[in-house]
Amino acid sequence: MLPPIWPRKASLAILTCGALVLLLEATKLARPFTPAEALDFRPRYMPALEPPTPIPVFTSPSAASRRPILEPNLIDPHDNLRTFYLALWRTEVGAPGAITRVLHYGDSPVTADSITADVRSLLQQHFGDAGHGFVLIAKPWAWYGHRGVDVQGKGWHIAAATQTRARDGFHGLGGVSFEGDTGASSRLILGEDHAKIEIQYLRQPGGGVLTVEAAGQTLGAVESDGPAKEPGFQTFPLPAGARTIQLSVERGPVRLFGVSFERNTPGVIYNSLGLNGGQVQVVVRYFDKPQWAEELEHEHPDLVVINYGTNESIYAEYIERSYPGELRQVIERVKAAVPGASVLIMSPMDRGQRDANSRISTVPTLPRLVEIQRQTALEMNCAFFNTFQAMGGEGTMARWYDSQPRLVSADFTHPLPAGARKVGVLLDQALESGYRQFKAREQRRTHQ
């Protein structure tokens, strides 16, 4: 018998509701929740704390060479990274002028210099800092950045290869063209001293004049007038302590592609060349072939990293039909322009999306795209770094999203600084362990 104060109607409503939910569950008309979940009373704890990414410690070269570390995600059966490793070796021993130059092409994470800034910092920490390298002269996207350089520009008409595009396809080394009339200017503030600045511009008929100042002192002018359209490069030494560089169009029009900062010491220059929305088809379709080749040739890179794929990863049909061919074309262009350079195809990171059950899972076509990249890299005699696998493979972004601290943005695509650092460290570890193995092999060969 029920007590006299029994709440009859509420009890019946609750029991009926419970029965309805169980009925729906039993008939599979809907799956509101599983009975096991309802009766799961185990204490819940906070998500596992993600350990901070350790900073690799580079031991002395001799000690390191005795303990090569196997790096399963860096595949290089044809020893394509030899050029890069040899350059690193020269840099490591401090040969005069021994600068190892890397060009890293990529999409939105690279645009913000995340991942690349971490690799740059680690390589420079271990092999020497030869400067910031390439920097755009204004922000084509709000989140463009280069760690350690503050960039402010005004009055420029900006044409990025992924957006408004320059009609002639002349997008320079970094994929962005800046055209300015009289009064357009840029200010770049460096965190540390550099020995020189190189202005990368377009020489063209009727081209104007750009003045270059450092710490208020005029360094000189760039005359961009020329008989034909062609890439131009002009270097100015920077006085000691000059960290604020002002570029001003004295007489327009002047078309710039960027600037490059270098030191005179042996070390690594790791150029971050990201395009928001970057894809291989942008390079194939919108980069003027000869002009880009000339830009690449001028850089004399020891390593070119091609790190696209995230933006392509959701187009299943495109991936099967056109992607392999376009990736090949990009590789061919790089190899034709800088035949001696190592080429590394770097796969995209994992990319998550909500599935039908509203859980975060890897974009289904992404593993296929990574496999195409791997096959193409091997067929075209390139090295391949499987970022996707190195960071944990399928479901990584779901884990990153749930981790504390969170490592990926809520779009399950763009890494947050801690996530970018993780990827940067993975790439650095792969390259450095590959280098140590290479060195060990070479030393054994010499002793034999």
Partner: protein, 453 residues
Amino acid sequence: MLLTSAAYFTFLAAVFFAYWLAARYRLGALAVVLFANYFFYARWDLAYLAIIPLASTCDFFIGQALHASTKPGLRRLLVALSIMLNIGLIASVKYLPVLPWVLPLALSFYGFQSLTYTIDIYRRDAKPAESYLAYLASASFFPTTVAGPITRLSTLWPQWSKREMLSAENGGKALFLIGLGLVKKLLIADFLAESLVNRVFDLPKLYSGAEVLAGAYGYALQLYYDFSGYTDIALGSALLLGITLPPNFNRPYAALNISDFWRRWHMSFSHWLRDYLYFSLPGLRSRWKVFAYVNLVITMMLGGLWHGAGWTFLVWGAWHGVGLAMHRGWQTLRGKRTPSPAPAARLARGLLTFHFVLIGWIFFRAANLDTARDILYQITSGTISFANITPAFMLVAIFAAAAHFVPKSWYDGGLRLYCQSPYYAQAAAIAAVIVAIRYAGGASAAPFIYSRF
């Protein structure tokens, strides 16, 4: 145990039946509630089983001593002891973790409620609890544990004593509130967060000014629906046991000035700040009127810091403190003249107040000051693109904004209709909400925003 989880509702149903079976006997009912409270805490971490009873026992005896004592010095010492105990508890869990592991649930709401007990007795505004068991059950009452509403304990234990049946109307209201809370949290707040808000606040520079502004509006709605959804579930859960908790929200974005906003937003918290912090600060009774303004700013800054030891919360608190002080100054200058009742003037005041609050929310939500700055910069950049704003986001945001302004008479009408419906219709409505959530909402709910405070 999240208040939106299947486990919670299984637990709540079990507590409901056990409570009403034992309700004839006060002791039995209190024992059920106390067991439920401690079980609820234990689900978060077993350490609470030691912390909560110990702290509650200390406060209970401090309350008894405060009531019995007539010596001002001793009474001051006792209340100071209680303040140190509860603030220390909040601080040790939140800011200076002394345990070797992280406790998943901050004890802010527990601490604030406990302080209402001892401070009220100190001020002779309330009498101590007659029963130790009633005090323990009230201090750790599970619906208020995660994020309030902050309830004066002296209003709770008299409710345990009444032996009234849960009326059909209150039973219906309880279920209605729980259903409404689920819809607010899982179908609106979590959807807005997942669709745009979280992305924009993670990496604002990736989005156009228009998208970032939409994300900020979305956050204002998300926060309201998240927190008021939680409050509805808490109120409904308590009401199922016949306990009435204080309301926390009253259409806050309909406020016409910032003081009005704080009378409508997180009411139990603003009342707590006013009654236990603002009135306790020195200088209020001095002839220097400036203290009233300075104390407002200090109170709100401390309120900001309570949310977290970070610059963003300090700025948020200062923003509101300065806003409240300026509004009070303006009221003093204006004297008895009333603001224009014209609809256009009311709309302008409402929009101004909402956007003032919105700027505060940007600091409240941003991970750090740099991100807040980036968000404000992007909003003022004038860049326009709607590529990341989906029609579904727009639809839900517009619905959520419109629902916020639904006249109270409509709400009351809906509630009356639900309460008068037969039990099977009430059950079917709740089941329909659960199915809708299953299809339209996420598989797993995000924790309530205020549960981390």
